[in-house]
Symmetry: C2
């Protein structure tokens, strides 16, 4: 019985020539040409690749033809491996001496469940590394040609998710919906009405512009510019679903509590000329 049949059977196998290891690789938004060169190098070296839904099939063309390709999830919550099964399987594969790539859409460090996989690897003494990818917020902003920060208007970006575990509470928006902030909600298409109601209750105007981008960089990419009050109906009418991000930019000028509690930069501070 292999680790694929029963990944809970994690036993160190006889080591091969080189020890196994795990690399969590960010695939970016989905299009194969949004992979980094580093990601492609790891894909080409892998003995086994565990991959997500949301990754374009062409992405897997960089995997060696004799390598195993293991699909671990189709849709959110449906037909996907539970996280502990993924953790166990990647560790078991590495312990059997394989070079393992766990290919994740976006960036592994942002809503990517990387912590569980890193912890599982470390608990079994398996070397693990992370290759960053382009996160959905960046990809959506690029596709919309709508930067997330603007000098003098928005100087911070909040990446949040409106999706959470059954029975768990949604993140407190009250702290976040502040002037000078661009809010980016990941995977929020099933909480649109709830999100709208909460932002309205916090004083964000019904005519607040909202941009939505789904399936960014892929053949079925969609985008929509609407207002907070129309967001839910417009997305439903356009048939926009996850994976999608919602971008809400709250300019400094709109609310005069902007300067409350702010500390002044000394005049000698360096001028930021693009980071």
């Amino acid at each position: 019985m292999s680790y694929l049949d029963n990944p809970s059977l994690i036993v160190p196998a006889a080591p091969r020539g080189k020890p196994g290891r795990i690399t969590l690789v960010g695939a970016g938004p989905g299009a194969a040409d949004m992979l980094t060169l580093r990601a492609i190098r790891y894909l080409g070296q892998a003995d086994v690749v565990f991959y997500d839904r949301l990754v374009d099939p062409e992405t897997l063309e960089y995997v060696r033809s004799d390598a195993e390709r293991i699909f671990v999830g189709k849709e959110i919550g449906a037909h996907s491996w539970p996280q502990p099964r993924i953790d166990a399987a990647i560790v078991a594969a590495a312990l059997s001496g394989k070079q393992v790539v766990r290919l994740k859409s976006g960036d592994p460090s942002i809503f990517g469940r990387a912590t569980e996989e890193i912890s599982a690897a470390r608990a079994h003494g398996v070397e693990i590394e992370v290759v960053a990818g382009v996160t959905a917020a960046s990809a959506a902003a690029a596709s919309l040609c709508q930067p997330l920060t603007e000098r003098g208007v928005t100087d911070r970006v909040v990446l949040a998710t409106a999706t959470c575990r059954p029975g768990e509470k949604m993140s407190n928006l009250q702290d976040l919906a502040r002037p000078g902030t661009t809010l980016v909600f990941y995977m929020a298409m099933r909480q649109l009405k709830q999100l709208t109601g909460r932002l309205l209750a916090l004083g964000v105007g019904p005519d607040q512009p909202v941009s939505i981008a789904s399936h960014v960089s892929r053949h079925n990419a969609r985008s929509l510019h609407t207002t907070l009050q129309n967001m839910s109906a417009d997305c439903a009418a356009a048939g926009i679903d996850n994976p999608a991000v919602i971008i809400v930019s709250l300019p400094k000028a709109d609310i005069d509590e902007t300067h409350r509690g702010m500390a002044e930069c000394s005049s000698g501070e360096a001028l930021l000329e693009g980071i």
Copy 2:
């Protein structure tokens, strides 16, 4: 006199075979292998590339040998082109019929001054596009093997900068330093004492773990794990300077106001199995 000698002279030149255009390309954290395939394709098609400090020399090897390479900035505030000069130069080059790449470190949409360049292009009817890159927060988290979100612990990420224009006010941290949040400060190495004082004043503990990563992905990459109270002294002792990001993760469990104002997810909500 060309647009390089005097970029304020923006006049449409006689069109060549194809109209000029501008692409803002994210180079990622600096290492050439953190470029995406799409970025490399645009670099190879460019007639002229305007590039930042912080981009590894090997990155420019993807530029055609007969293309112009124009260096627009060495250090923050020193020996760099003022933003309006960059805006004018890229527009002038595009209007003269060139395929222009503005290569920016990180992701153009996050603290990248992209808005000014997009506005300048649009004001002159020049087509502009953005290619997302790996932002510094993702690259730092990967290099530290320290994800920015952790299920049940941190469910939002704030990207902020501690650097601002002379005389301008620093962003209000009071809203940001909340349980369940990972704060990532870009380019903050010259405001460490100020940042420490403000976080302490907001109730973040002096022993709060802080991670710092500088020159991520490059040959001179450095990282440091310290505490809030020791951050400034430890960075000075280690000689860590910009470009660097500071990562401060504030777990939900640490402060019991976590649930204040939270809305409960309905039990039927989809289970998030990694985005």
